[in-house]
């Protein structure tokens, strides 16, 4: 079918919406704030312009040099951040044990419905909700914006679902100690840290993976020694333990390590490689007594030779796994796959080849320093190309964070805003699939989700959204002329990106509203709900 001239012309307009007049530097600053940050706050564009795009970016690449007092003060209002991850973990574990005991008691004495809901004050509700809220607050309030964008990226790349079981207790340490300190470090360091984290070991079952026929020392002794009741009890305990003992390797982590964390699904590995990786990692487990920590169980380790991608790994106990991770972190397929994912996040749903190449070259030069890879991507011509502007749909987290930032809003200390992100389809730390949340727009655009975004936009504008406060007077002065009001809102909230259709709709819709305060609320709501604001 040959497209007619009219369709072609319309298509050009549809594919590349005309950017409104905006000087080149402002356009660059807006683009950078959309991708290397969670959108612009009032005044941010001017601040980037004053510093210069390059220097702003350089500063963001060294977050430890940026003071972050507003965020620090905010986080101190959250219980979950005031206490150490270990302490939170212990409290949550105790609460899990208590809940099980309560269920047993409840079930014993009545036929009440099972699994009584945990009250809002229970650590099992409060801490996960606060952990989600901390992530949202960091996106909104932190001055270290690029760092927070990348923290979100890596938490998602090395996804763990916090509601599978005891992961609820492991999540604070996973976020605060495993991922966040390594966000801009060496990829290998991140890979090893996640591989040895109790959260990942439990979530993808490597803690259960043992060599074929391996027997733990506690079961290695002779059966049925001694006589009488004690021996019988010991035997029954042993039978129960034996029944629960893993019977061989579990490939789950090995497969996702290759497919998602390193090589990528087309990274050239086979099922035999998956099995070999699982065998290398047998024995990588979690300490059962006391606080959960990484533990290597020699008895569970498979001592034979294994071949991964043509390379033979000889028996070396735990070091074999470290050698494997170092090997995987340096594979060309890994460099490409991870660079492409970063480009997908930072540049476009379909990562441009030039961007991927820039990431790979920086990776090779720096032996996998994430800071260098990210710098190369953000300086690549593909990042700055016109077709990359406004090319990405905001995820629910990005939409909520950028909307609150756009109005200069402040989250309160309740987890309401994080819950909102969940209602929009992205409950944080609760993506069950190891793939993490999708980066492509088709995962986020659907009719129900759009309607909810309109509701959020109007609710936030009207000050009806729980969990956040903003000052409309500081944002946009009262204005009775609809044209001038539309322009002021466009400048303040959309960094001047509203297209003709959006501006004319706004003007028309505002024309008959007499009350300037009501008109302002409506205009702010329309701006936050506009097609332009859904993109970045």
């Amino acid at each position: 079918m040959r497209p007619s001239g009219i369709i072609l012309a319309a298509l050009v307009a549809a594919v590349a919406p005309a950017l409104p007049a905006q000087d080149a530097d402002t356009g660059r600053a807006v683009h950078l704030l959309n991708r290397a940050a969670f959108g612009a706050r009032p005044g941010d564009v001017a601040r980037v312009l004053a510093l210069g795009v390059d220097r702003w970016l350089e500063t963001q690449l060294h977050p430890d040099r940026i003071p972050d007092t507003t965020l620090t003060r905010y986080l101190a209002s959250l219980d979950v951040m005031r206490r150490s991850p270990e302490e939170i973990g212990r409290v949550v574990r105790d609460a899990l044990v208590e809940r099980r005991a309560r269920q047993v008691r409840a079930a014993r004495d009545s036929t009440r419905p099972m699994e009584p809901a945990d009250a809002g004050g229970s650590p099992l509700r409060r801490y996960p909700a606060q952990l989600q809220q901390a992530a949202l607050a960091r996106a909104v309030l932190s001055e270290r914006q690029l760092y927070e964008v990348l923290a979100d990226f890596w938490v998602n790349h090395f996804n763990v679902f916090m509601a599978k079981g005891n992961e609820l207790a492991l999540m604070p340490a996973y976020v605060e100690e495993t991922i966040r300190p390594r966000v801009l470090g060496k990829f290998e360091g991140l890979l090893v840290a996640t591989a040895q984290s109790p959260a990942m070991l439990m979530y993808l079952d490597n803690a259960q993976s043992v060599a074929e026929g391996a027997v733990p020392p506690v079961l290695a002794g002779q059966r049925g020694r001694g006589a009488g009741r004690q021996a019988a009890r010991r035997d029954s305990l042993r039978a129960r333990l034996e029944e629960r003992m893993p019977k061989g390797i579990n490939e789950n982590y090995a497969r996702e390590l290759l497919e998602l964390h390193t090589l990528g699904v087309d990274g050239g590995y086979t099922q035999a490689d998956v099995v070999a990786v699982a065998r290398i990692l047998t024995g990588w487990s979690v300490r059962r007594r006391g606080a959960p920590e990484f533990e290597f169980n020699d008895w569970a380790h498979d001592g034979g030779d294994k071949v991964v991608l043509g390379r033979t790994f000889h028996e070396q106990g735990m070091d074999e796994g470290l050698e494997l991770l170092a090997f995987l972190a340096r594979q060309p397929a890994t460099m490409r796959h991870v660079s492409a994912k970063l480009c997908m996040r930072l540049v476009s749903d379909v990562p441009p080849e030039g961007c991927i190449d820039a990431g790979v070259h920086a990776w090779e030069r720096s032996d996998g320093e994430i800071r260098e890879v990210v710098r190369a991507i953000l300086r690549s011509p593909e990042f700055w190309a016109p077709e990359a502007r406004a090319a990405k749909m905001k995820t629910p987290l990005e939409f909520v964070a950028s909307a609150v930032r756009a109005v200069g809003g402040r989250p309160d200390s309740t987890p309401a805003l994080a819950a909102l992100v969940g209602r929009l389809g992205q409950p944080l730390y609760l993506q069950a699939a190891p793939t993490g949340y999708a980066e492509r727009e088709e995962s986020w655009v659907n009719s129900g989700a759009l309607l909810e975004r309109f509701n959020v936009a109007m609710g936030l504008a009207a000050g009806r959204l729980p969990g956040v406060w903003y000052d409309a007077d500081r944002l946009v002065p009262l204005e009775s002329d609809p044209g001038r009001l539309a322009d002021a809102v466009n400048a303040a909230l959309l960094t001047g990106t509203a297209g003709d259709a959006t501006r004319s709709t706004m003007r028309r819709q505002l024309a008959d509203i007499r009350d300037p305060a009501a008109a302002r609320v409506f205009a702010i709501g329309l701006a936050l709900g506009s097609p332009e604001f859904q993109r970045q």
């Binding site: 079930a107 014993r108 259709a501």
Partner: protein, 426 residues
Amino acid sequence: MPCDCSTASMDRRVFVRAGTLALVSLGLDPIFLTRAAYANRSTAQPPNRQKTLICVFQRGAVDGLNMIVPHGDAAYYRERPRIAVPPPGKDGGALDLDGTFGLHPALAPLLPFYRAGSLGIVHAVGSPDATRSHFDAQDYMETGTPGRKGTADGWLSRHLAHAADHRETPFRGVAIGPQLPRALRGAAPALAIGDLQAFGLRGRGRARDRIEAAFEEMYAGAATGLVASSSAEAFEAVKMLRTADPARHQPGNGAEYPRSPFGQAMRQLAQLIKAELGLEIGFADLGGWDTHVNQGAAQGQLAARLRDLGAGLTAFATDLGERMADVLVLTMSEFGRTVAENGNAGTDHGHGTAMMVLGGNTRGGRIHGRWPTLDEGARFEGRDLAVTTDFRTLFGEILEKHLGATELTSIFPAFEAVGSGLGVIG
């Protein structure tokens, strides 16, 4: 199709589709076109009457052996001294189905459907994967790829994406609840609706209409690609719901839904069907099946959950009446529970379970699938009911014979026995 789409809006949508083809012919293949391409294949009128599949997920692993009681298998009573449902005829006994199996007495309202041949049961059905993790097993059942964790989309979504002939309506796939279940996530659009009456823009009367009109105008003018088609769908859905007003459909034939969340979910699904909105896949969840402790026998915790299930299914089938010829309800659960009761008069995570198929062309009034027996030697890993029917065999047969699916190998990849069929659907 009850759609009063204005000409302008129709033109725009036609344009979006024409644009799709044009882009492809130019060698461009933007991702957003995937969905538009599915929509393209659709026809304005359904080729046949609208067929609907309702999936009810019993999350937490139902004890299939106390739901559909193998009272003719001696091992059942031997292994469950405290929690077995008594044999038929005894006080609180199972309701005999075929001399070997019986319904739990709390499911009594379903017995007439079985006798009338519209309720069929598949026993010893489940996953070929040995996992006893709720999380993993639910994931496997919803993605339709047991043993494989990386699958991004659900089997129901893949069906919606592959189905060649369908009405183009935003209500093809609807889950009642706050979020889409994994089974419905993927490239095909689907809606999660907590409450039909609250779907759409919030606000009252004219203020709400005003906001809706403003966004509709704005998106008609400024949105592109997938956002344009999805927003058009959204406003269309809101208008369709307002026109169809599903809430006006009161339960028919004297049906009484339980006031439980499950009962209300089933009631809303029935309303969507009666409102003729083109519902093809409906989904409802029902939890509370993880009966490790004191699960009870004829009475007790499990009985209470089954009562809710039975009452909800019965109300739904009664309400829809003759329409049930086009509607099929399938219950599923991630795995079953141990044959033997545990030390707490409950049951632990097991393997095979039972699923119910109600309505449509179900060859009901019988137990489908091969019964492996509860003999110790026949059990899975020596302790659980073995699986003799892969759940994909059942799901695949329903998609093929009830919904007319032709792409089973894409919906259940790497499943060789797909399409072999059980004979559950006539």
